[in-house]
Symmetry: C2
Subunit: 334 residues, 2 copies
């Protein structure tokens, strides 16, 4: 029994097991009609030799790479937990994940996504950043693309992160608690989630005649955009309820209020979104809508894999979001 210095291949296993190379292949894949005893012997020898199939060779033969690409950026827009959730869902389905970090404008990102979808190196592309839907012509043999948060409805989107319906409950509870003046500090409009949050805000604050909205500011998901929104307010703005599109904005809102000498939640109440860790430890602690990013990433990946396999998109059961009332909204509860 010769031991080769380098990594054994299926021929080495075949030789050691006294069978043909094709029998090794069938034994390992479980596909052919191999006698159980032969199969066991091959498996034992393969294990003993530390055999691992060469995935490049398999890929060349099967014309399937077994890889999907995930497009992210360095920015805080994307959470590690979402990437992890997506990666784990991919592994579960037998796919490996290629990470691609992109920067630049939506058009550049779109070009990169299209390039990936056409590269033939991956069977699908999941993008965590908005892309320009017009650029995503999937005529030719391009791989399917799923965007977690899309510019419009022309492309596949998981939609789950864009569900803003809980905000209606938040606003209703604040109105019940006698809040009558509102302000929205939103996210960039190319994020479907930002648009959905703004839309619900507009609809819900418009529902009551005696509820006033000071407007909808377009922010950048950043604390600074929340802070600036507050600093730009007239002195008589409070009492005011600020609906921030994420926790970072909400933090900036609280900071801005502090700089203006406004008490939170006495003069200004604030709600965030995402359930960021820090929100539980600010003073006051931040009311927020928690998001299960790990599961969101997993669902997006499952949707991509369904698209790859031409299966119907899975319909998830449990909700991904939840209202978490904390100190920044004072005594308001639903």
């Amino acid at each position: 029994m010769s031991v080769s210095a380098s990594r054994p291949n299926s021929h080495d296993v075949a030789r050691a097991a006294g069978v043909s190379q094709s029998t090794v292949s069938y034994a390992l894949s479980g596909k052919g009609t191999i006698a159980p005893r032969t199969r066991e012997r091959v498996l034992a020898v393969a294990a003993e030799l530390g055999y691992r199939p060469n995935l490049a060779a398999r890929s060349m033969r099967t014309r399937r790479s077994g890889r999907v690409a995930v497009v992210t950026s360095t920015a805080a827009e994307v959470r590690m937990s979402m990437l992890s959730g997506a990666a784990e869902a991919a592994v579960e389905a037998g796919y490996a994940v290629d990470t691609h970090s992109v920067s630049g404008a939506a058009q550049d990102r779109t070009d990169r996504v299209v390039e990936l979808a056409r590269s033939g190196q991956v069977e699908g592309v999941l993008t965590f950043l908005p892309v320009v839907p017009d650029g995503l012509t999937t005529d030719d043999g391009a791989a399917p693309v799923v965007a977690v948060t899309a510019l419009d409805e022309r492309m596949r989107s998981t939609g789950e992160l864009a569900d803003a319906s809980l905000l209606a409950d938040v606003i209703a509870a604040l109105v019940d608690a006698r809040h009558r003046r509102f302000l929205h500090v939103g996210g960039p409009a190319d994020f479907a989630s930002a648009r959905a949050r703004r839309d619900v805000y507009v609809a819900e604050t418009g529902r009551h005649d005696d509820v006033e909205s000071l407007g909808e500011i377009v922010g950048t998901w950043s604390p600074e955009s929340g802070r600036e929104a507050i600093l730009a307010l007239p002195d008589d703005a409070p009492p005011l309820a600020v609906i921030a599109a994420n926790d970072h904005i909400a933090l900036g809102v609280m900071r801005g209020a502090s700089e203006r000498g406004w008490q939170v939640p006495g003069d200004v109440v604030v709600t965030g979104w995402d359930g960021a860790t820090f929100g539980a430890y600010t003073t006051p602690a931040l009311t927020t809508i928690t998001v299960d990013f790990r599961e969101a990433g997993a669902r997006a990946m499952r949707r991509l894999i369904a698209a790859i396999r031409d299966e119907p998109a899975p319909t998830p059961a449990a909700p991904l979001q939840q209202i978490l009332w904390r100190e920044s909204t004072g005594p308001a509860r639903s």
Copy 2:
């Protein structure tokens, strides 16, 4: 000129350009001795046909995958920016990045890293999480492994995140500002960075006879560990300077102080680490040591690639960290 429905290969390009397949290969790689005019024609035809080399085939032939693995977790311990920096450095060097999300104890992570290093699917492994160095026997043909933050010095480590020298300056400035009582709330001991920060804390607070340390708490990088450390203090702890090993811990320290009615920075001053965005918007804003995580990720990846290529590790020039004095330390400056 026949147009095949599927992806063209080098034979298709050869036929369309009226040359042999090997000439196409040489023209694209620029390796052989191809006449400039031939080469140009081949390149033009390849572009026209939208030819892209099949990487699986290339990989099988060259026996090099052109891939590196990055091991991360869902946890906040790892930042997206660090992953992005690593991914971009990999692309720059001609490598693609496979993302592997792991969870579980250090031993499980180590097993996974070893498995990856031996899988033959990647040429190197970069782990963002601590692994058990004993498990990392790289005898056989395993791929090199680099850990960004390692358990001990037996394995390769970038070390740069573990450089805690700036903390000496921070403590010196606080001592100059008449702070005499200190507390350290650190990170888990299997992080080299956590150990280095604690070591510098111990050395620097031990340098002066009239400086007292209330001890070194082992935390979990989490706000809760900072909060608990403060809640466990005796009532007469202030005036106190708390050195937190990261910004999340520092946030929890501020929260705990707030719960105890201690003013920051009046009764307690606090410093964090990492330069997290939220730290600029807390009240008071958090003094911290900023870390360029993108560059840290890039340097770690460059070190891995140097190891793959058997080149000496690159020696970085610019420092990755910087002290950022803000409100949580009051008027102390260096």
